[in-house]
Symmetry: C2
């Protein structure tokens, strides 16, 4: 990370009145944690701040957000400064993509390998576990005071994007930063309870129905299941709330790649996870998606059954 | 921790030929990690070392142990030195309890609050996340060289006893030690894959059947389910392998206390987890069990149905 870039970002912030902070579509813990950490950090400066994230906030992250501050629509308003967090390309802004054209300056802060840098200033560090970890480094590089509220949001980002400090992206520095955040006062078990131990029982039932439907292919190396509208309706659940199915299927011993097909109005959203050596980002990029080697995804205009066939065919070269 | 105690432990080790390292009955990740870390640390000293742990090694910990070194029986052999790890009282040694009477000196290393210190030297530190974390501090206090193998076993102990760094016992120092272990070379995602992502599919099915059977009482504040011999037989699974059911039930939003009843030949083993303020160790102690405020358990000579009634009655005072 370049000290000069950090300096320039803080200059831009100081010289801007209307600031927009944006995250990616279907926001996850890292996106929400990073966006809200920056929002709360900037709040005392009395700027006019807009927050944009396209998609529902999952129930377990609602406690970290005052949803009133998030704009649902966007009327081509102009901003002095746009800061885009955790978003690997412009398409990932979803329905808010246009905001890029209506901002005088854009800063991109991200940790995704596939991010080519679509801002005027780009701080992209793929060694970081999470965008939240990178935001923390930026604040520290600027000798900024980090409040407990901001620390908790950065911790949320790190916690969720490292799968509780267990994915390969977890470094010794990630742990050292977690230690510093705890020293600021972050309550780890309280955050863990909100994120992971507050599942409404209808969500638990929907989750189990999705997991039960897993089909295993290629000597159990590929595990696929679907989250259908049918299952969601039956349990009165929202798609954004059924989290962790793809990770759970990856926990089966023989499974090398797990896949969850999420039915939506445009077709199917595909989530992929890899356990060892297979690069699922490479598969996703082929279908105009993105992500990391071990966690990636894409959208496709096909129904569940057709998508399943495509995925099975796609992994033939690895497993057959 | 007293430097003098550490010095004396290392003196005892140096002056002993026959050393026994013992952990508690139904060994878990902290027990196995601590015992094996100490075993591997002592191995180069060419002592005669015996390892005792009463109960099956869960499938996901087998990779960390050469099972040949674990004694299944005990013929009242005498030891110069016995080191008991992660074991809150003598009863928790299970069928190996007698080893205490046949050892010239006993060192107890533990982090359980209920441990009253039944050794000649007792290093009991309830501020530690895990016995593994304490073993690490002891080795560091002795300026010992820590090999990658020993580091990985200490990491295993910390990882599992903190629920992936999420229980209240996780301190900033716990994270700093994890960072040091990673700097020694510990591969976190590899260990995570072995411990959490290697579930045989029959275990996954048995797990889901147990979770599906959950019954909720007192406005969903108490969640109970059972792991019966019937379920185990049906899925060809071993009790030691069905891990995490009690934690999973705790993840339901309204659940304050989760309880799993494990059917065995002597009756029922009760596992309790608390989410917020209820001290389940207090309940367990009443039935001659032990543990921590948020994770405790006991054995009872009753069948599943009677035990369930007892548990429901027991929590009446908290929830009714």
């Amino acid at each position: 990370m370049l000290k000069n870039d950090v300096k320039e970002i803080f200059n831009l912030i100081n010289n801007s009145d209307k600031i927009c902070i944006a995250g990616h579509k279907a926001p996850d813990g890292d996106c929400i944690g990073s966006v809200m950490a920056l929002y709360n950090f900037l709040k005392p400066l009395n700027k006019n701040i807009t927050v944009l994230m396209d998609g529902n906030i999952p129930y377990n992250y609602k406690a970290f957000i005052d949803e009133k501050i998030i704009s649902n629509s966007y009327n081509n308003e102009e901003y002095d400064l746009l800061i885009v967090l955790d978003t690997s390309d412009r398409k990932r802004l979803g329905k808010f993509e246009n905001v890029l054209n209506n901002s005088k300056k854009t800063v991109v802060i991200d940790h995704h390998k596939t991010n080519e840098g679509f801002g005027n200033i780009n701080i992209i560090d793929t060694e970081m576990s999470s965008t939240g970890e990178l935001v923390y480094d930026i604040l520290k590089a600027a000798d900024a005071d980090i409040s407990l509220e901001v620390a908790a949001l950065i911790y949320l980002a790190i916690l969720t994007d490292t799968g509780k400090f267990s994915y390969r992206n977890t470094t010794s520095n990630t742990h050292r930063k977690a230690a510093e955040l705890i020293d600021i006062g972050v309550n780890v078990s309280e955050i863990d309870n909100i994120v992971y131990n507050s599942k409404p029982s209808n969500i638990v039932r929907a989750f189990m129905e999705c997991v039960s439907g897993v089909e295993l292919y290629y000597d159990n190396k590929l595990g696929i299941t679907a989250i259908t509208k049918n299952i969601l309706n039956k349990h009165n659940a929202d798609m954004a709330d059924i989290d962790g199915v793809v990770e759970y299927i990856r926990e089966i011993k023989e499974v090398e790649v797990s896949c969850v097909l999420k039915e939506n109005d445009e077709g199917t959203k595909v989530s992929l996870r890899s356990k060892n050596n297979i690069d699922v980002a490479a598969v996703s990029v082929k279908y105009k998606g993105g992500g990391h080697a071990k966690a990636a995804g894409f959208d496709i205009n096909e129904n569940i059954e057709s998508t399943k066939k495509i995925i099975i065919e796609e992994f033939k070269k690895y497993f057959a």
